[in-house]
């Protein structure tokens, strides 16, 4: 079985086929999937929770769940859609847990006055700061708006795929993404032109 998933071939194998091999006991297929998605999942979760260490922990849990439920996966849904559904559910659980145990975490951010990036003389620094301000801005959005926005504008999913991942009708997804963008634009009003 392992010969079928040689490094030469593995880049060409569709995710769904790798899941097929994984469900039949070939753990090497998971290695390929992890290599393929670890960076994306860590970044997606990081955009969602805003904490790198937690993002890594949640990403680990995502892959553990893929392994645990390998036999339940049905290729009716794209693997990436299934994977991001697991990731967004875990990220949302973390946000819910935080809102219960640490309800002031985002209130504190809301109270901050952002320093003007436009006045910074160094372009690289400006870019870095803007990235941080955008991350903070994303953190101020409610999870129901944050998830579709990140999936659309950071991860590049189609509206239809997002609708599958979050389990909402297409119209709701479009509306939430539009509102999330308007809200984020309002938050970052001083820094984007």
């Amino acid at each position: 079985m392992r010969e079928n998933l040689s490094p030469q071939r593995r880049t060409k194998i569709p995710d769904e086929e790798l899941m097929f091999h994984l469900a039949r006991g070939n753990d090497y297929a998971l290695e390929v999937l992890v290599k393929r998605y670890e960076l994306k999942i860590i970044n997606f979760v990081y955009r969602m929770v805003g904490d790198f260490d937690q993002a890594e922990d949640i990403a680990q849990e995502v892959f553990i769940r893929v392994y645990r439920h390998r036999e339940r996966y049905r290729p009716l849904a794209k693997f990436s859609t299934w994977l991001y559904t697991i990731a967004s559910n875990l990220a949302k659980s973390e946000l819910r847990r935080r809102s219960i145990f640490n309800p002031i975490s985002f209130t504190r951010l809301r109270g901050e006055r952002l320093s003007s990036i436009k006045r910074s003389p160094d372009k690289a620094l400006l870019e870095k700061e803007l990235g941080q301000k955008i991350q903070e801005g994303i953190g101020k959005l409610k999870p129901n708006y944050r998830v579709p926005l990140v999936l659309r504008d950071v991860e590049g999913f189609s509206y239809e795929e997002i609708s599958e991942i979050v389990g909402c009708p297409l119209g709701t997804v479009k509306s939430r993404i539009n509102r999330a963008r308007l809200k984020l634009r309002e938050i970052l009003d001083d820094y984007i032109s």
Binding site: D27, L39, E56, L149, I177
Partner: protein
């Protein structure tokens, strides 16, 4: 079209997914409203910027930790119990069988030969039933008051047998005074 209505269509406009007629309405509004025009430009810039956010890299130990956890996950000990429906059914069967055996066992009868002073004072009427005015101390705790039914001949003679039946499977106590 007012500013509020335009807001709802901004994403569709910047992504070019509106139909021709609606797109023209949006453009007509934008041409005459500098505030909405700025909003549209900002949203377009924001969407472009979000695509270029700097990526974070996994830490050096990320994969090692992950494979460590996956190895534990795939070990036989962690695999079977939680997710096997057969194990769950077997556990349920054992639980039901144990419950059935416990509930259906015959009540135990135990006899104690005790002095009258030791007889359980489980109710004030016990004094009357015993035909004395003594102050009896409780020795057997937890005996149901409602079930206290001394035999009719309990006041006869010097040696009297008191039967103190108790609820469910608790031992039935026979107390004999002498």
């Amino acid at each position: 079209m007012n500013c509020k209505e335009l807001e709802e269509l901004l994403s569709g406009y910047i992504e070019g997914t509106l139909n021709q007629a609606v797109a023209e309405e949006v453009e007509a509004h934008l041409a005459g409203c500098s505030r909405c025009r700025e909003k549209m430009h900002q949203m377009r810039a924001l969407v472009g910027r979000l695509k270029d956010l700097e990526m974070v890299e996994p830490s050096a130990g990320f994969e090692a930790r992950l494979w460590g956890q996956l190895r534990r996950e795939s070990s036989p000990r962690s695999r079977g119990w939680v997710f096997s429906p057969i194990s769950a059914l077997a556990a349920l069967f054992l639980l039901v069988a144990a419950g059935y055996l416990f509930l259906s066992r015959p009540p135990q009868r135990r006899s104690y030969l005790i002095s009258e002073a030791d007889i359980v004072n489980i109710h004030p009427s016990a004094n009357q039933l015993l035909g004395t005015g003594s102050d009896y101390q409780t020795r057997e705790a937890g005996i149901s008051l409602e079930r206290f039914k001394p035999p009719e001949d309990s006041l006869s003679e010097g040696r009297t047998r008191y039967i103190l039946p108790v609820i469910s499977n608790r031992p039935q106590v026979e107390a004999t005074s002498f």
